[in-house]
Symmetry: C2
Subunit: 305 residues, 2 copies
């Protein structure tokens, strides 16, 4: 039994599929498969029911998972308390990041990143998805943070988190219920970002092509101000919304979410930097964004901004 195997158990229990769990653990699917098998052999129990989809914990599996969680919580707290990132992380990293993530994610992580990895030079470019991909292939950028999955050959994806779409209502608007149903948006006139933003296209997937408003804005902050002026309502990504406002309303399950991931070219060596970045991000966003859970994934394919 190894700590790694236990981490795999948690990941598989969370994500319900060997492939997804493997991607979240930054390993290949067979690696995770084999390690789970080995643990099952050692313990002499089937931990997962592979016939079900998504893959489910068996009854003894639930006990194993509970133990694993306690073990890893304790282990992580030890690593937390000390943990020197041994070989100091250094180097240069050129990062592309889409605007609807950038303004709300970077403030949460930038300071900590700088102080934890002072020997890393960060170059950050706020760009739409299409340009990020292009620059990664030209090796003008090392990493991108954007909405996934893209299913682009030549691009490696690593999922980061799942960000719910929320609705931001105009001051006068009547709010149908505390947790919106999917249909509640039909007929609403929504304020949307311009064509170059993938968030616009994802929003349209949610509310239907019909109600694309006549106004297009350049940034979410502009949109929010216009909503405040009563010019209409809009969809926002959760991290950009003021969740304390009673005009910000979430959806019922299955809540629509977008997946935010890190991408890199095939040539990019899996550096400690990537793991450091990923870790820092996950530590500084609300816990419930870590997993997809029962939420409905609004894909990013074919809607590159």
């Amino acid at each position: 039994m190894t700590l790694t195997q236990l981490r795999y158990v948690l990941a598989l229990a969370r994500h319900g599929s060997f492939g997804k769990a493997a991607r979240h653990c930054l390993v290949a699917q067979p690696t995770l498969s084999i390690q789970i098998q080995k643990l099952e052999q050692e313990l002499g129990v089937e931990i997962f029911d592979r016939r079900k989809n998504p893959v489910t914990l068996t009854e003894p599996g639930k006990k194993v998972e509970a133990h694993a969680r306690r073990i890893l919580d304790e282990a992580d707290s030890l690593l937390e308390e000390f943990s020197q990132e041994s070989g100091e992380v250094r180097g240069r990293i050129r990062l592309g990041i889409i605007p609807t993530v950038s303004s709300y994610l970077l403030p949460r992580i930038f300071r900590k990143l700088k102080q934890k990895y002072p020997s890393v030079e960060f170059y950050i470019h706020e760009l739409p998805t299409s340009q990020i991909l292009q620059k990664i292939q030209n090796e003008e950028l090392d990493l991108g943070i954007l909405a996934t999955p893209l299913n682009e050959k030549m691009i490696e994806e690593i999922p980061l988190y799942y960000e719910p779409f929320v609705v931001y209502f105009a001051p006068e608007a009547s709010i149908p219920r505390k947790r919106l149903k999917f249909d509640d948006l039909q007929g609403q006139d929504l304020l949307l970002l311009g064509e170059e933003h993938c968030f616009r296209h994802q929003s349209l997937k949610i509310c239907g092509q019909g109600n694309a408003g006549k106004i297009e804005c350049g940034s979410l902050d502009t949109i929010k101000k216009m909503v405040d002026q009563g010019m209409g309502s809009t969809l926002l990504p959760l991290l950009s919304a003021n969740m304390k406002s009673d005009r910000v309303v979430r959806f019922q399950d299955p809540e629509p979410v977008r997946e935010i991931g890190i991408v890199h070219g095939k040539s990019f060596y899996k550096s400690r930097l990537l793991e450091a970045l990923r870790e820092t991000i996950l530590k500084n966003i609300p816990l419930d964004l870590h997993q997809q859970n029962k939420r409905k994934l609004i894909g990013a394919e074919d809607v590159l901004g």
Copy 2:
């Protein structure tokens, strides 16, 4: 960080020396050294102060140890709950065991051993130390359980537990105090086992050669009966004594103990069987025999029975 490394931390903290800890972990000393170093590197802390003798936990080291204990407790409880000993342990084992251990240890473990490892044939021979060693070298026995350390070349030793010597007083005897001092035995006429028992020689190390009694017995059970008849007092190994009797008295620290260990010839492959046996024994003796702690070790060298 691995579970193994954490086990090494606990062992080293317990035993205070890399060599001893390694023996208790069934690995070589450099193996343990290196793993401790690696963990220290990863955590960026000195866990142990190697200048001290015995090796001591540093301040941060104490925190690491506390974490490690919690992690391993949880991990062991998981393994306890399931753990299939995967590749079934099978085979034949010829075990020699000295009489002063045999009668009191075997009843504690034999039933459990049989039911946990039904495919193992146990052959058990109650013999004095010298014969066990001889038969191991002739490959007539696979393992021996006896008092260690022996420092015999050609014989591998693995420590098992540390068994206090206690005094069993005759019914009329006056008992000097609740916890005896080392000197309290001087002048007492002790009943002792015959020459062939190493326990006799160890007893004499404790009470001085002077007071070897005139009576020599063949077994501890005989001795106990004679003590009950008022023929004198004696020393007993803790596991053979009825600790509820108020005529059984322990020593103050540093309490004298004998080390009981498993030995085997160099050719004996380290089988799962050995580990199984060791584990079963440790699980079925009082916890405070597991470590030497502050007790005074009465060696078995030069007093082969």
